[in-house]
Symmetry: C2
Subunit: 182 residues, 2 copies
DNA sequence: TTCTGTTGACTGACCAGTCGGTCATTTATT
DNA sequence: AATAAATGACCGACTGGTCAGTCAACAGAA
């Protein structure tokens, strides 16, 4: 319901009705509407986090191939994420609103850090294998790539024509070309 | 005030008080709170749009140099945008909320399209100059780059340590390396 | 009977938008 | 120049409505 109508657009009564329980019951399990919302956020983080860790476990392949696999599995999530993606925007907004700022901001920072870490490890691996150039900054590339994925979803959300998988594959090819030793 | 407390966190009465005018006066100029908010959005679009068009007017330079210039002037905006960036998140959320969806969604789609166009023109120019490879998709690279810039701001917002200018410069170097004819 | 879990009516706070009215400035009249 | 009439920007008290959170009461199990 948060995904459909946003945080403020969803009342606790609505949620209770949809869940076929009384409003009071919700307060048996959550201290506040905000707590409930944060729980949804944590659920969402766990869900997407799982998708990432699974996809890079393709060991043995080259770093470039693994980057591509990660990209592919992330971007192909789009179709099933599409409807829930609004939630992410709601979370961003929540992190920016002064009331809930603290917890969401910390959680997001952590989330991005973890994600960047995974990607940068992958790149470091590529360097030590002699596959990628030594003069690149793995952290920087990781941060930018993570950002790109995020933002492609965002653009796709605004524009139904936009195909994040195709775009990201073509772009990643360029990036990998730039990473490789020439 | 929207940047400080978000859309729902800001009451029209608050705005009136801050502006030292009566609440009724606001309704002389705007039909609704939503209209007022959309006006802020349009103001913001104009502001950032100007920053972009100025920075790519550095003609004569190579496509790579111009890309770098665009990147630099965008990312160095961060310090002055930092405090207002929350607005963007508010706008995203607004675009996702069912009530205001239409206008914000259309505006964002347009905004991204325009921005992608600028960057892709720059890349196409690089190709026709023989500077960049012919087998790349300018649209895709442009879309991804635009996204990356957006997302670096986002990450920077969550993490004060994060330096979007440095990261983007290092990343762009890799991308340009991948774009160039080898 | 007691305990556990559930419920929805109720409350108090909040808030967008309205509307009747004020008053400084401008325009018309004498 | 002096006076009167018209204007419209400005105001804030008020209305109608929403909603998060509470709590007294209820139902079912043990």
């Amino acid at each position: 319901m948060f995904a459909q109508n946003g945080y403020t657009g969803t009342s606790v009564a609505d949620i209770a009705a949809r869940a076929d329980i009384g409003k009071g019951t919700i307060y048996e399990y959550f201290n506040s509407k905000e707590d409930l919302f944060f729980a949804v956020f944590e659920w969402y983080c766990k869900k997407t986090g799982a998708a990432v860790t699974v996809s890079i476990s393709v060991l043995g392949a080259s770093a470039a191939q693994r980057l591509d696999a990660l990209n592919g599995s992330l971007m192909s999530l789009w179709d099933e994420i599409k409807d829930v993606f609004v939630l992410v925007m709601e979370f961003w907004a929540a992190a920016s609103s002064s009331k809930m700022r603290q917890r969401f901001q910390i959680a997001f920072k952590q989330l991005y850090q973890d994600f960047r870490r995974i990607v940068s490890d992958l790149i470091v691996d590529g360097i030590s294998r002699g596959e990628f150039r030594e003069d690149i900054d793995p952290e920087a590339v990781a941060a930018a790539l993570v950002g790109t994925w995020d933002a492609l979803f965002l653009q796709a959300w605004f524009d139904p024509i936009f195909d994040p998988l195709e775009i990201s594959q073509k772009f990643l090819a360029v990036v990998i070309q730039g990473l490789k030793k020439s």
